[in-house]
């Protein structure tokens, strides 16, 4: 990787940096972190950065919501109502948190699809892909656990059917159901467990996995989707790119990323202002709504379970997820161009079409 020398800043800022640099060598750190060059042909669509930005938005808004939210069945609904009605800009914070969660799932999936269809998960980036897959799973679990917290009818019943999906797993289904619900039914223990997972376990896990993902990403740089990495000549020993084909990561790439973040922030504000997140009637275990559905990102699985045998429907993701996680180790074809890896691309397209079709079908059924 090419590294450039940063210009030395002056004034108070320079003094502070000097002070820090003496002790922690921050200039070297920043230089190695930011002043790198990336291939001009890299097309990231800024999706990884957008996902990270949305995660930061979630951390900030979630922390603010936690100041008022009370995770017990008696108080959860009323506290959310209080946030929406009485807390200054509480409606905005909660709406951004809710829309941010949805957009984060969209962006993380698009990021995965970008990496898959560009074929850049292949050697030498296998572990970056694996870490990314874990981030996707953690993001989905984030959404799942957060959905219950408002403790309204939609939250309660979506979690009921969502945990039922886990309960349908062969052999470990009952354990999984009891583990998720903290008992056979959705009760105060479930809410407490989901809140703990949503605000402690998952943020820590996601932050750790994100750190791993970023370190791996930094060490290898952004992939060039037009240039397959030869198995005989791994990246480290590859001929360096000519200077004209490279782009400074800072400030050029990061500037574009910042513009993308601003666009996402604008979208979040528009969505939260025009379609603020609502609140249905308080959760009632004795009143099943007419149409119970899980969150939209689990809808394809829910719909699949309706027409394939239950065990097959549950086994499909159990088999598919490890396969997807370990994809770089199965896919030994070094080619990156879609027409040279037709099998993988067709399987990918069919899977995406199937998931979109099932989701639309589930929404309107």
């Amino acid at each position: 990787m090419d590294r450039t020398n940063p210009e030395k800043p002056s004034g108070l800022f320079n003094g502070i940096v000097d002070w820090m640099d003496e002790r922690f060598q921050v200039r070297t750190l920043v230089q190695s972190a930011l002043h790198v060059k990336i291939p001009r042909k890299a097309k990231t669509f800024y999706l990884g950065g957008i996902t990270m930005f949305l995660f930061m938005v979630q951390v900030v808004t979630g922390s603010l919501l936690a100041l008022y939210y009370q995770p017990t069945p008696d108080r959860a609904y009323d506290s959310v109502m209080f946030i929406m009605s009485n807390v200054n800009f509480g409606w905005l914070i909660r709406s951004i948190h809710s829309w941010g969660a949805n957009l984060m799932i969209v962006s993380v999936v698009l990021h995965l699809l970008r990496v898959f269809f560009q074929g850049v998960y292949k050697r030498p980036r296998e572990l970056t892909w694996v870490a990314g897959m874990f981030l996707l799973i953690v993001t989905l679990v984030f959404g799942f656990t957060g959905y219950l917290l408002p403790w309204d009818q939609r939250a309660y019943w979506a979690t009921t059917v969502g945990t039922e999906i886990a309960g349908a797993m062969p052999f470990v289904g009952e354990f999984a159901l009891n583990f998720l619900r903290s008992g056979p039914d959705i009760t105060a223990s479930t809410l407490s467990r989901f809140f703990g997972m949503h605000t402690l376990w998952l943020p820590m896990t996601l932050a750790a996995m994100l750190l791993v993902h970023l370190v791996l990403f930094h060490q290898q740089g952004i992939a060039d989707p037009t240039k397959p990495v030869s198995r005989a000549k791994p990246d480290a020993s590859a001929t360096p790119e000519p200077e004209g084909k490279l782009l400074p990561f800072f400030p050029h790439y990061l500037l574009s990323e910042a513009i993308a973040w601003y666009v996402i922030l604008g979208i979040l504000i528009i969505l939260a202002s025009l379609w603020p997140v609502g609140l249905e009637a308080k959760a009632n275990a004795l009143q099943t709504p007419a149409h119970v559905k899980p969150e939209w990102y689990f809808l394809f699985l829910y719909q699949l379970l309706k027409f394939v045998p239950r065990v097959a429907g549950v086994l499909a993701p159990i088999v598919a997820i490890p396969l997807l996680v370990l994809l770089p180790f199965f896919d030994r074809n070094p080619e990156l161009k879609p027409r040279k890896r037709l099998f993988a691309v067709i399987i990918g397209l069919l899977t995406v079409a199937g998931i979109i079709g099932l989701t639309i079908w589930g929404q309107f059924s």
Partner: protein
Amino acid sequence: MKHKLAISIVSAVLFLLIGIITVSAQGSDKAILSAPTSTPAAAADRVVTTTVKSTAKAKVDTCYDCHAELLDKHPKVAADWKDSVHGAAGVSCADCHGGDPTLDQMKTSMSAAAGFIGVPDRTKTPEICGACHSNVERMRQYNLPTDQYSKYKDSVHGAKLAEGVTQVAICSDCHGSHAIKKASDPTADVYPLNVPALCSRCHSDAKMMEPFNIPTNQFDVYKSSVHGEALLGKQDVRAPNCASCHGSHDAKPPTSAEVVNVCGKCHTATQNYYEQSLHSQLKEAAPKCWTCHGNHDVTKPDENMFTHTASTEPVCTTCHDIQTLDLIVDKAKFANPDDRRCDTCHHQDSWIYEQVLSLKSAMTVADLAYKQGDVMIAEAIGRGMIMNDAESRLAEARTSLISARAAIHTTKLTEVTKLTDKADASAKEAQQMASDKLGENLFRREAMFVAMGVIITNIGILAVVRRRLYKELE
């Protein structure tokens, strides 16, 4: 040799015949007792071979065994009975049709001597059903009433039947004969949701009703009434069906004097209010529920029920006997729903008309406030605002408005305005809450434009910087 052979063959055939007769007759001791024994040939002539496989010692129902295997409609009758409440309770064919189900010979089991009566005569059917259904000891275990037969005898149907008119409803016309189901079974004709269609099978038939001079449009009128829409449209079993007002076994049209009590079975509060009114004190001449609301064609009441849309000429005979000037109610004047108005009696020159207008005004104002509140809340909800508080307040307004509508039956302005004022106040509070939320929503949208302005400006600046940077790079 040939003779010996012939005698042997004849002897063998006779022996075989006697054997067959003996074996088949062993199915029932009674059959053996009642079977003629003169000659084997004569016996063979009388015996009908059946498919009955039961023996005398087992509990047998030869009626079912035979009819289940016969052609034509018999298997269905047998199957219907088996699946019916009677089949489940062990009420056999013989309990209604007579005969002896333990005998396996048709001629004996279905003989007059065995008490067989065949299809019961229509005039006898209620009595046959009543034989069991009036028996407290037998019905106690099923928690069934035992007064149906006595009620039926007092009904229009029963009275006509007693006169020998067979073209009236008997038990089996409503409950069926063999496929009898519980009234709580949704597939039963007598299930509340199915009762209007059941009654209309006869009462919508002009030919059947002609001898009785009864109109046949009740079902059609009922279907579009508020009651019919609730029962048949919303499938709300709490809504009244024909039997709710006319009775079922004791079916009879309620008299004018009874109608207040009939409607009051459900509309309890309204009946209480009505009984406080001057109307109720007029006894026979009093306007009753039907006067303003009709009977089968009851529609949702609203403020248009107070007065005619156009001015009307008072007709004295609507409320006064032309000879004695006594108060009366001329039913014909209220046949048209558009004439079921207060000013049909209280003409515009009367002093009560002013009170009618005041009542109408109070109700209209409160109703309008409620409707405006409803529209504003719906708009705010449509814009994503949480309106629980306003909805609660509007629900209070609605409760007061419904109470005020019921209180109109007192005809007392003070009683009504007390409630309409309350409804109006609650509705206006709800409106204010909705207005505040709509204002807040407007602020949110304006703030959104400001925020977007800042974001777009920043994006613009960054885009300019980016272009310069890329130019420098080139």
